[in-house]
Every structure is written in C-alpha cells, then in structure tokens.
Symmetry: C2
Subunit: 251 residues, 2 copies
C-alpha cells in the first residue's frame, strides 16, 4: 500500500544478531524518530537510555541468546521536569498514578517509533518485557521519578523468521461498544494457538503431558507464565515504583 504500511506489516521480533555495531548516525536517527512521537502536553515525560556496555547489559540479562549490540530502555522520567519546576519556583506533584501511566504511554510510544525507524533501516529488534521488574536504578543510577517502562534490543539481524500469526482482526477490534465473544468465537479466535500444540513433536508434547499440561492455553499459563513468575515480576515492579517514588494511592 505504501512503504510505511509495508514496514509495519512486516515486523518480526529478532532474537539473533550479527556481531556488528549500529553506526552512530543510524542510532542518532532512530532516537530522533523516537522523540518525534506525540507526547502529553509536549513535555516528554521519558528518557531513552542506550546501553552498549556488555557488563551493564549482562547486569540486566545474563542470557547469551540476547547478544544484540545495543539495548534501548524507555523510562518514565518526571525527574527532569521536577528539576525544571524547582528551578522556576513551580510546585511538583507529578508523582501520582495518572502521571505514571501517562509517562508510561509517552515512553513506550517513543520506543515504538524507535523500533519502526530501526526496522525501516534494516535493523532488527525485540522487546523485553521483564525490564519493568529489573533493578534499573541499581544498574544505571536513575534517580527518583524514573521508572523502567520498556526495553528493546537492537542490532543487525542474523535470522529471518516467518511472520507470526496474530488473532483475527475481529477478535481484537470492537465497534461502539465491547462485544463479549461467545465461547465458540473464543475457540475460533485462538485456533492458531491450538494448532501450535498439534505441531509440537510427540516427545515435547509428552513432556508437557507428564506435567499435566494438555493444551496450549495450559502451556501458556502453568507451562510458561507461571503464577510464581507473575508474582515475582509484580514484586519487582512494586519495588521499582517505590524506588521511583510513584504513588499507587491518593493521600
């Protein structure tokens, strides 16, 4: 349809990267594209933190698979505005849950622009969700009012995976109201997941079944995103919110 739509429609997450750094002017361009995203009140409630020091990267993820040359963290950042306010005799109270969420929104749409710009220039990316529970303040020295919202690895791809199936559009899109799907519709929407279960080797399927896992929905929860994982991740988020001094209640 046009080059922009083509770029968006062809997104794949890349998990294997060439050992080749990103050229400084390319990095600069994708970061500039990030900062052109819309931003609440034109106030840019975020920072973008580029991490290419291998030791710092490993402090976040000790995972050899994540061998990208560059990691970019998008952080909610109200610290910069706070200092500007203080220097101008203006009060600061942007530490409430609405500020957290608007800052989160600001940060990740800037990061999505970085991703789209990167892919248009032949780079590959993958989002790492667990950043929200990592000790960013300890590793990168972020001050209060800065919270890790999003993270991507960026580098030149060393793989070209197939497009992954998405739910059919009618599963995700509603019109003038939320249409509660019927059970049959739910089953139809998630058919591509059920098919993944059938594509597993007999051996892998047996391993899951030995753990009482008999379908892809169970594999998604008890076989992957366990309750223990979700609770641990949430504990990390709450620690980070306390460190960043964002309030979750009105007082």
């Amino acid at each position: 349809m046009n080059a922009v739509i083509d770029c968006l429609m062809n997104h794949r997450s890349i998990r294997k990267f060439l050992d080749k750094p990103i050229e400084p002017d390319i990095l600069d361009t994708i970061l500039q594209a990030g900062t052109r995203a819309a931003t609440a009140g034109n106030l840019q409630h975020y920072s973008l933190i580029v991490v290419d020091d291998p030791a710092k990267k490993r402090a976040f993820w000790d995972d050899e698979m994540l061998d990208a040359p560059t990691m970019i963290i998008a952080a909610v950042d109200e610290y910069r505005l706070k200092r500007w306010f203080e220097l101008n005799g203006a009060p600061f109270y942007f530490d409430q849950i609405s500020n957290l969420l608007i800052g989160y929104w600001d940060a990740v749409i800037a990061l999505q622009n970085v991703v789209v710009a990167a892919e248009s220039l032949g780079l590959g990316t993958v989002y790492l969700g667990e950043i929200i529970s990592k000790d960013m303040a300890g590793i990168l020295g972020t001050p209060a009012y800065v919270f890790p919202a999003g993270c991507v690895l960026v580098g030149y791809p060393d793989e070209s995976p197939d497009l992954r199936p998405r739910l059919p559009l009618e599963a995700v899109v509603h019109h003038n109201g939320y249409r509660i799907p019927t059970d049959d519709q739910i089953c139809a929407y998630f058919k591509s997941k059920d098919e993944r279960w059938l594509l597993l080797t007999e051996e892998t399927r047996q391993k899951f079944m030995d753990k009482g896992i008999t379908n892809w929905a169970q594999r998604t929860t008890i076989g992957h995103y366990t309750q223990e994982f979700v609770i641990e991740d949430s504990a990390g988020v709450l620690r980070n919110l306390a460190t960043a001094k964002f309030r979750l209640t009105l007082e």
Copy 2:
C-alpha cells in the same frame, strides 16, 4: 532518509478535522497495522475499540473542538485470554500489576502503529491522555480485566500546524547510565519553553501574572496541570483499575 523516517519525523497532532469519514478499507488497514506491533508472548493483551457514534464520543468528551469522525481506544484486555484459559482448564492470574503494565505497553504500541499507519495515508491524529480516567466500562460496556490505556482521534486534517519543538536529543538520551543534568543544562534544555512565555501577548502574560504565574514552568503546573486535576485524574484511574479488577498490591 526513507519514507518511514520521513513519516515519523513529520508527526503533528491534529485537532481540527474535515467532516469526512474514514473509508472502511483505510480503517481496516490501519487497525491491521496496529495488530502487527510486537506483543508480549504473542498473546495480544489488548483490544482496539473504534467509536464513531457521535453520542458515544460525546459521552467521553463533550468538546466541540474534538470533531474527528473516529476515536480509537486501545484497552488493556486480559478478559479474552481469561475466557480462553477457562475454556481450556487453565488457571487465570493475569490480574497483577505486571500484567497491567505489560498489557498497557502492548496496547499503546499497537495504537502507535495505528497512528503511524494513519499518518502515512494522509490522516491526522491526536492522543487524548484523559481516557485513563474516563468511565469506559459505563459507556462501552467493557468487562472486568479491560482498562482504558490509550486513545486517539483520527480523521482527515483541516489544519497543517508547524512541527512543535522537542527537547534537544541530549536532554532525553543517556548512555550506559543516567546522567543527572546540571541546573545550567536543565535551563538550556527547556529554553524553547521559556521562549514560549516571551511570545505570549502582553495581555495574556498579564492575565497569568495576575494569578501569580511568572514563567512557563509555573504556567505548566499551577496554570494548566493543576494539583487538583492530577488528583482527580488519578482518582479516575484508581476507579477504573478497581472496576477492571487489576491488583496494585501483592496478596
């Protein structure tokens, strides 16, 4: 540099729209582009709700200026997964703060893809941050585990505003650690804001000064995003989180 970078670099928020509906195939294309964004675990923890019924739009915002033909809400949606899990005998515990934030991230990067796709096709957009505190469940009948993450108005532009200045890149980008800016750096970063104060008419500036507002930082806080507004917005967010049954504490 390329058509994608050009599109991203040329974003303007549009607040005045032609009285011309979006063609169904164009709407379909931009929504499809939204669903191709990366998504945590390839699980699409969001829904996109298209609102073009004028009465529903007005139920959210009774504002004549917001005359776009179409509003698109990106909502965190764990309800659909919950039903899939239930129908497959899998447990549901995706109601924790980590699920809320990952769903929020998923929802708004899909929405940013919608925005980029829309702009590439000649449409204009504007984000409306206050959606997070609006009574979406009351207006659109969203069930538990669905929370309003983001919102844009979309339509054909009836204005062509100038690019708005952003903070210099070095204000927003950090490298292998958070660099605490000096006071002088903060003042330099926000120079374009101070210039806006000087560009106000004598009359407007006098009106602010009558309220004790003597610079743009004070105009931003006590003159615009007042403490009362932030608290009220946050109260709405907390109401929506309670309605959507997301937990803000571990228990």
